[in-house]
C-alpha cells in the first residue's frame, strides 16, 4: 500500500519566486523568510518521497470565471507553467503521475466529491513556487506531482469542512493504492493576507498562530469556521487556509510536528511553515 509520509505547509506568493530568481534569499528583507526552509528540505531529502499531492489555488492562469471548478485534480503525465502576466518567470515542466491520480479520482467520485478532472492543465505560482522553494534550482523533476486545485477566488467557495473532508478522501485513496510509493502532501498559500480594498494589508498574527497551533492537534476545530469567518479573521485571501485544511485531512489523526516557522511580512502576507509527520 502507498504510504503518506507527512504534510508540509508553505506560502506560495509570487514574490518568493521572484526573490529566488534574483538570488535575494540572503538579503535582510528575505533572509528571515527563507530561514524557515532548510529543515523542510532536509526532511524531504531524508524521506525521499516519490509523489507530492499539492493543494493549491489557481489565481487566474488556467481557470477563469467562464468555467470555474470548485475542486479540480490533475491526472496528466506532465504540467506546464506559463506567463501569468506580471513578470514571474515560468519554471520548467512539472512531472505528473497518472496511475495514483486516476485511483484518487475513483475514490473521490465514490466518496461523492464532484471533481473536475484535468488531463491537461497549466499550473500557476500557487503550485510552482512551493516546488521551487522545496527543491531550489528547480530540481523538482524527479518528484511526481498530483495537483489538486481549490476555488479561493470567487464566492461561494467550498467550506473549510468540505476541504478537510476532501483531504480525508484523498488520504483513503492513497492508503488503498496498491504500490509502495511514498507520498508527501503540500498545503500551500496563506496565512492571513488581504490584497483588495481599503482593508488591503490586513494581517492577523494572533489568528495565524491559533490556526497553526490548532491545525496540528485539533483540525476539526478549524472546520467549524465559515469562509466568511476566514475573510473577517484572516483577510480576503486568508481563505487559502482551506488548502492547509485539505492537506491536514490527508494525514493521520495524530501527527508529530517536526518543524514550525512563522514570519511577517513577505510582500503583503504572513508566511507560515509546518512539517507534520504522519503517524500511520
Amino acid at each position: 500500500m502507498a504510504q503518506v509520509l507527512g504534510g508540509i505547509t508553505t506560502s506560495h506568493i509570487p514574490a518568493i519566486g521572484m526573490a529566488m530568481d534574483r538570488h535575494e534569499e540572503d538579503t535582510p528583507y528575505w533572509k528571515p523568510f527563507f530561514d524557515g526552509y532548510p529543515p523542510v528540505r532536509a526532511w524531504l531529502e531524508a524521506q525521499q518521497p516519490d509523489i507530492a499531492v499539492v493543494f493549491y489555488n489557481d489565481h487566474g492562469l488556467e481557470f477563469f470565471l467562464d468555467k470555474k471548478p470548485t475542486f479540480a485534480i490533475g491526472t496528466a503525465p506532465q504540467y506546464h507553467n506559463a506567463d501569468e502576466g506580471w513578470g514571474i518567470k515560468p519554471i520548467p515542466p512539472v512531472t505528473g503521475e497518472t496511475e495514483l491520480s486516476w485511483h484518487l479520482v475513483n475514490q473521490l467520485i465514490d466518496d461523492e466529491f464532484d471533481m473536475t478532472v484535468c488531463q491537461e492543465l497549466r499550473v500557476d505560482h500557487g503550485l510552482t513556487v512551493p516546488l521551487s522553494l522545496m527543491w531550489p534550482g528547480n530540481r523538482y523533476q524527479h518528484i511526481k506531482v498530483i495537483p489538486v486545485c481549490i476555488n479561493c477566488e470567487r464566492h461561494p467557495m467550498p467550506s473549510p469542512k468540505r476541504c478537510y473532508k476532501l483531504g480525508q478522501s484523498i488520504g483513503r485513496g492513497i492508503r488503498s493504492f496498491a504500490g509502495d510509493q511514498k507520498v508527501v502532501v503540500f498545503g500551500t498559500g496563506g496565512l492571513s493576507h488581504q490584497l483588495d480594498g481599503e482593508r488591503a494589508g490586513f494581517i492577523n498574527k494572533a489568528f495565524d498562530q491559533y490556526c497553526m497551533d490548532t491545525l496540528v492537534g485539533h483540525p476539526e476545530e478549524l472546520t467549524r469556521l465559515t469562509n466568511d469567518d476566514l475573510v473577517e479573521k484572516a483577510g480576503a485571501q486568508g481563505v487559502e487556509l482551506n488548502m492547509w485544511l485539505a492537506m491536514r485531512g490527508v494525514l493521520s489523526e495524530h501527527v508529530t510536528e517536526l518543524h514550525r516557522h512563522y514570519h511577517i511580512p513577505v510582500s503583503n502576507t504572513a508566511a507560515g511553515v509546518l512539517v507534520l509527520e504522519n503517524e500511520d
Binding site: A15, H59, G60, L61, F64, L65, D66, A82, D83, E84, G85, W86, G87, E153, R154, H155, P156, S159, Q194, L195, D196, G197, E198, R199, A200, G201, I203, K205, T226, N227, D228, V231, E232, A236, H263, I264, P265, S267, N268, A270
Partner: protein, 116 residues
C-alpha cells in the same frame, strides 16, 4: 445560509456571484493580459481594447484612471486586476498603497508592524 450572507467586513467587497456577473467583461479583459500580445494591444489603444471586451462606461473610466477601488466596485476581482496592475508595472504592495491612500513606504511599514 453561509454563502448568501454578505460578510460585512469594512473595506472589503465580497466577490460573489452577482459581483462576478457585474464584472464579467472587465475580468475577462484583465484575464487576457496573461498573453504578452494582449498587453501590447492594450498599451497601443487602451480605450479601444476596453470596447472590444464590452466594458461599461464606469469600468472603462476606472481602467483609464487606474482607479483600483472603483474597479472593485464595478465587479473587478483582485486576481484578474493584479494582471492589469502588472501591466502597469505595479506589484501588490503598490496596489495596496493605492487602495489605502498611503505611500508605498508607509504601506510596507504597516505590514512590518503587523509582525511585531
Amino acid at each position: 445560509m453561509s454563502n448568501s450572507s454578505h460578510a460585512d467586513v469594512p473595506g472589503t467587497i465580497k466577490f460573489d456571484g452577482p459581483m462576478a456577473t457585474k464584472g464579467y467583461a472587465l475580468n475577462k479583459m484583465c484575464y487576457s493580459f496573461n498573453e504578452a500580445s494582449a498587453r501590447e494591444a492594450f498599451k497601443q489603444d487602451e480605450a479601444g481594447y476596453c470596447d472590444r471586451f464590452g466594458l461599461t462606461p464606469e469600468q472603462k473610466a476606472a481602467i483609464l484612471d487606474r482607479d483600483i477601488l472603483a474597479l472593485l466596485r464595478e465587479g473587478g476581482s483582485i486576481y484578474y486586476l493584479a494582471k492589469f496592475a502588472g501591466l502597469l508595472g505595479l506589484n501588490v504592495q503598490d496596489v495596496g498603497a493605492l487602495q489605502t491612500g498611503m505611500t508605498v513606504e508607509a504601506f510596507k511599514e504597516k505590514l512590518v508592524r503587523a509582525g511585531e
